[in-house]
Symmetry: none
Subunit: 493 residues, 2 copies
Amino acid sequence: MTNSAYDTLLEHLKTTAALEQIGGILMWDQEVMMPRKGNAQRAEQNAALEATIHARRTDPRLPDWFDSIDEDSLDMAGKANLREAKRAYERNTKIPAELATELARATSAAQMVWADARANDDFAAFAPTLENILDLRRQEAACLANGGDLYDALLNDYEPDAKSETLAALLGSLRPTLTDLRGRIAEKPPAPRITQPFPADVQMRVARRLADAFGYDWEAGRLDFSTHPFSSGNNQDSRITTRVNPDNVFDCFYSTIHEVGHSRYEQNMPLELARTPAGQYASMGVHESQSRMLENQIGRSRAFTEWMFGVMQEEMGDFGLTTPEDLYRAVNRVEAGYIRTEADEVHYNLHILMRFELESAMIRGDLQVADLEGVWNETFERDFGVAVDKPSNGVLQDVHWSVGLFGYFPTYSLGNIYAGELFATMQQDIPSLGEYFRKGETGEAMAWLKANVHDKAHLKAPEDIIADAVGHKPTAAPLAAYLEAKFSDLYDL
Amino acid sequence: MTNSAYDTLLEHLKTTAALEQIGGILMWDQEVMMPRKGNAQRAEQNAALEATIHARRTDPRLPDWFDSIDEDSLDMAGKANLREAKRAYERNTKIPAELATELARATSAAQMVWADARANDDFAAFAPTLENILDLRRQEAACLANGGDLYDALLNDYEPDAKSETLAALLGSLRPTLTDLRGRIAEKPPAPRITQPFPADVQMRVARRLADAFGYDWEAGRLDFSTHPFSSGNNQDSRITTRVNPDNVFDCFYSTIHEVGHSRYEQNMPLELARTPAGQYASMGVHESQSRMLENQIGRSRAFTEWMFGVMQEEMGDFGLTTPEDLYRAVNRVEAGYIRTEADEVHYNLHILMRFELESAMIRGDLQVADLEGVWNETFERDFGVAVDKPSNGVLQDVHWSVGLFGYFPTYSLGNIYAGELFATMQQDIPSLGEYFRKGETGEAMAWLKANVHDKAHLKAPEDIIADAVGHKPTAAPLAAYLEAKFSDLYDL
């Protein structure tokens, strides 16, 4: 039996992926470049492209090709491509067209309702809209779940093969460490901070040197501004954005490093697998592990900030901190804050845990939208020791639920857990890692990530890729140990 | 009989046009934003999009819809849409899908090869790529020509209904005026020039004020840099690019005005006809008439440069010319130069005549790529009286052939001829035009262009739109008279 059916399938998938990449370019353009009045026209363009892609994803020839393929004759990439293609086809054909249309319409309209409600600190104004979106996503989950867990059905769009039960245990095991750390740090004197403002061009000179330090390939990407930093694109065209807050240079610096972490993963992905399912990122959790490790385990390490101190002196002159150790303490300043995206390493996963618990309860029907604000505020005060002062600092702060993103939040913490595992093993494999970081050299670390994660793309299930890299089934223990050690030292606990 | 077939057809055309607009965004991105290594991936994206668009353009349901439509019941736009849809369908069904895909792939990849060859002044490095593209375009022309002229078959993509024989006569009629003018001017003292260099930011401040003067809508467009200035996009997202040459501020200023002329046409196009055939530009010649009129008949007029002199003083300080009349003479300086895009009004059409002759000979098989550089250099020396010093000043200067644009060049001169016709009539209709220009006010002129050209979109054949606007079949006489009068006065001939 020849495998011409496989070749036909692969060509079909690669063309579809090329169209999906175009969608990514349009999204980037819309966020970074598009003039204001172009919005209506862009909506028509997106709809036309989306319809084209949907027709290709649900092409009735796909199951025929699946049936004709001699799976045993396929290599590892071929098997992965077939597996992922089947998974995607099944997912895409289970959702009735009317539901998909209604979801697209509702989530697009909801974003503005959410933004207004947030601006007015009025959760009640958003609640009916959220109820509708939640209802539609629960219907979608029911189509996908085959009688299984509704939340898992949504989670698996972002984290294939993951089970929320396992995730809950994994993330939940962090809570005692984090709340304990938070409590002990709160009694210590605060870390220093930079109080001086710095203009955009000065911040961007440092940001570009930070991107350089991680080997960001400027000929395969670019760095621009957007309201919310993001990375987009694939392989040899992987772009990043950052933002500049004159009063907080670290917002720009660590957003840049974070997005560089995402983009280096994409830039390193095997070119020979480009636009095939096996050649994509393994999962959102694995993606996030790359950005968080560069941002935190490396970028916020004592060794790296020692080098960064010199760079900042060169580019910014006297910036108000006089020793590398002060900079190290400043970039690791722990502070109970309301906002997830501004959270330090200690508080960040507490933010995620709460959202994970709330959204999975909502999807399963165990928590009603009417009760959400109250439960949010109770949980926050319990976990953070501070009462929420207003909805824009609480339940209304994130865009995710308004655009229907349920099942996405836990991948952030999973990324942190994976980063903890990978970094612990990397440190064992490269004993002089700190010596390199002290000189701003990340070549050894990036080569390790490339060999152990980037090169693996989506050839295996995400958890298996991490397990192969670290030699065991991943747990939260290395992350907990890293945080405990780092912050005990920093805050003299 | 209902016209539901027409409604179905129109929806199909509008979705196709939205995908074509996406192609425009990708092209803009490639020229202005894309990182260098993104080229290969972009070629795949372009090919996937092109295949999708080609399938829609050749959809077998199209002839059924055509047959079911009650044409008599359609309004003017409906009739134009049906006419253009039929023309496009006929054109597109003649090209095999593989050829269309291969052309998209090859031209996308060729552009970077051309840019590198130009940077290295190495025509041989580009020749094999050009041979491939020429071969593909000749194959395409053979599919389209039905045994007729190969070159006309390509020309009609840019100038519907035009015949190269007629064009050759129209353009050729200019040659005596141009060579005569050039000869007489060569014996006169040269016009003044600006010798001082100016940095990019200073030049761009002036460029933005020039765009403002012509009412460019910044919320429906943007201005960036590219190697070769261009305009792209439609309606509420019509973007332009320019370039900065520190030693020649007029390159930046007049490229900007030129592209603004294109973009104002697009920005003014009737929104209710957006993404329909009737709502597009009439032809490249008409498009070019808008850019050339703003650039030359208005932008290089004595009245407009009087206002521009004040703007330049405000933004650039002392720039070396002390009177408005000196600026008027400087922007109309006549000089035999190598570069088409820098050519004065006297030499410009001589550049086009040469390219028109060379490319029609290549398409007809009368000139080989191997001989192109030599023939270019010979022809140039004959027509301009100067020897080409290097390929970047000669055969490698234009992007057109690298992206497969054969049949496009003559539309530049047709645009000049149309601009000559339109401006002569506009002057009769608005006697105090010069008074407005002297204050940098183009509102009356732009309103005239909107009413007589932009609002007409592609509701009629291009030549008929110009004929309606000027009251007769267009000829080259007004352009020749304008050039003769202007340069006789300027050079005291």
